[in-house]
């Protein structure tokens, strides 16, 4: 992705939450473990990471070990609280029923040797994390899909993304 100016956008909370469900880009901080990415790059409280992020996907694979799974450039990281139902239970991090989805479970170290790499990570927030983490993410520069913005933001689009500084209305 080339250099891009930062565009200031004002979004309603529902509009920002809709974006977060779909996925926003975090322009730096790859090459780390999931735990480091969550805590250092995104600035999420370690206790929240451990206790509330009960369902986490890396590239669509349920993650059981935040320290072994590594975030590579282009990765998609989705965050959720604990979910209902048997399917919700199976997706849960290290959950009792995790074996029921063993075919798609994240295998652990993946896609990087652990050295720092520059690149974009797509982050999605679902359910309670939308309410809990939207304000935290709004404080940092974000990449959002160009087609999600109306007006002048689209002029700053690079590779389909626009670097924005979000103000929540």
């Amino acid at each position: 992705m080339g250099e891009a100016p930062t565009v200031r956008v004002t979004l309603s909370r529902p509009a920002f939450k809709a974006l977060l469900q779909r996925g926003i880009g975090i322009p730096d901080g790859t090459g780390t473990s999931v735990r480091e990415f969550l805590q250092r790059t995104l600035g999420i409280d370690p206790a929240y990471v451990e206790e509330q992020l009960q369902t986490v996907f890396l590239d669509g694979h349920p993650v059981d070990d935040f320290d072994r799974a590594r975030v590579r450039p282009g990765a998609v990281l989705a965050l959720s609280g604990a979910m209902p139902g048997l399917a919700g239970a199976t997706m849960r991090r290290g959950g009792y029923y995790a074996r029921m989805r063993e075919g798609i479970t994240h295998a652990g170290a993946h896609g990087t040797d652990g050295s720092a790499e520059e690149g974009v990570v797509i982050v999605k927030l679902f359910n309670r994390t939308l309410a809990d983490l939207a304000e935290t993410l709004a404080k940092r520069p974000l990449l959002v899909p160009g087609d999600a913005l109306d007006g002048p933001g689209t002029e700053a689009e690079v590779d389909g993304w626009v670097l924005v500084a979000v103000t929540l209305a």
Binding site: R22, F57, M83, G85, A87, Y96, R99, F126, N127
Partner: protein, 577 residues
Amino acid sequence: MDTILRIDVGAAGGPKATPTPVGDYAGLGGRGLTSAIVATEVPADAHPLGPENKLVIAPGLLSGTAASMSGRISVGCKSPLTGGIKEANAGGQAGQLLARLGYAAIVLEGARQGDDLYVVRISKDGVTITADPSVRRATNYQLMDKFLGEYDKTGAMIAIGTAGEMGYGNSTVSITDMEGRPTRHAGRGGVGAVMGSKGIKAILIDAKGAKSRKPADPEAFKAASKAWVEGLEKHPVTGEGLPAYGTNVLTNVINEAGGLPTRNFATGQFEGASKISGETQAELEVARGGSATHGCHRGCIIQCSGTFVNKDGRYVTKQPEYETVWAHGANCGIDDLDVIAELDRLDDDYGLDTIEMGATIAVAMEAGVAKFGDGQAAIELVREVGKGTPLGRILGSGTATTARVYGIEHAPCVKGQAMPAYDPRAVKGIGVTYATSPMGADHTAGYAVATNILKVGGDVDPLKAEGQAELSKNLQIATAAVDATGMCLFIAFAVLDQPDTFQALVDLLNAYYGWNLDAAGVAAYGSKILAFERDFNQRAGFTSADDRLPRYFKREPLAPHNVTFDVSDAELDSVFG
């Protein structure tokens, strides 16, 4: 709750109701009672719509008590959809009220005489049954309009829409909610058609003057009830996630996992998932003046439902559940919540199972009857089902039949019943339950109930791949036990995580009935129910060959993870082997 109300629909002069003692069925409730009666009294080779079949409607063991979440009601019979035994359960008001009136079950039995349709009225003063020509071809909401004045304050209605009256394999028995609307359904397996075959269109319950059931040990029951509520309220799923977003909170998560069946199970991710997610749905409901947090019966503290209103703020339907949003949404390529809500309303009105209907429409779309993503076409197809046109009757016969009619291999069914909203290639453990449940493909047959606490099968390592069969068996046993209590399955997470909450549930049963059940006793109870069901199915001609997923799930990889269902036949056979 020591009486079974037997209604002989073939009696001289019209259907006759006779209260009988529970007798040998004492100690059974909900699914335990429906399956015991069907397995004992219905010939396994009976035609589902013939005079030998029976429809059993049974509240749970704890229904009608002060225990929170105990309002589920079970409906059982030989299924017109699967040809095997069936139990489908629902929320709503009827379970609590029937139990308070002292009924362990209502059994509709015998050979219907003539083609009159009857309305049954039950109160503490007795039972009346009258022929009512005006209810013929009435939909569930039309029945509500006609009878709401009779049941809205202290009662409930159990009814069938046009689907049940026309004998469809896809037909529900509806149960009214707190507002008197027919939004809760014993949905799966065509139970509505069996009620229709008995000529009973509606059962109106008036519980005026009926009191909450009294436990054997009131103090112990009160203490257990307090611990039970505290356990449910403190858990993040039952106390926060479900109330805020409803069951549709699963759409984003299952989609991310690549397990959201999309366009008739062609792929595991839907590009429009965030447009129909529980998070988006809740925002929309609240913004329009509806509600994202509501219970389906009094005494529910989880409040996983809601109210969906249109752009003008007018009521459309209750908050569509995850299974409905998936079936009519992702599985049909539809990403419009207003269309999905309209389909949910039509399903409730005609008395159609949303899972089966959505799966059927998707098969029809694959066959070219309509295009994937065409919401208006989907609405028109459901209207055809409700009207009983020739095409509608095919679609109303279910997913498997529709696939046969159109020459489509991709019928995502087990024992003739359509799979729910989790692709078994991505979540293989659920696939094992789909394959081996006596009910046909059913996600609630092996729910995330506390097998770890029950210790059925012993301790397991959750991260080891082997043992899917053992885990599925244990889940099915535990779920059968919960289905007998009348408790909503959404208690499962709190019970799973919190041993004290599980113990509170056992304590509720012991305090109410004066029992001394322990975890092993609960497991034995569940096993007994499954034994009834599997025995019936074997006598009905089912073999291990029926405990299989369609072969294409083994052959066709599911994107994005490109996984197939590779659990061996031997392992499937070992579930109950």
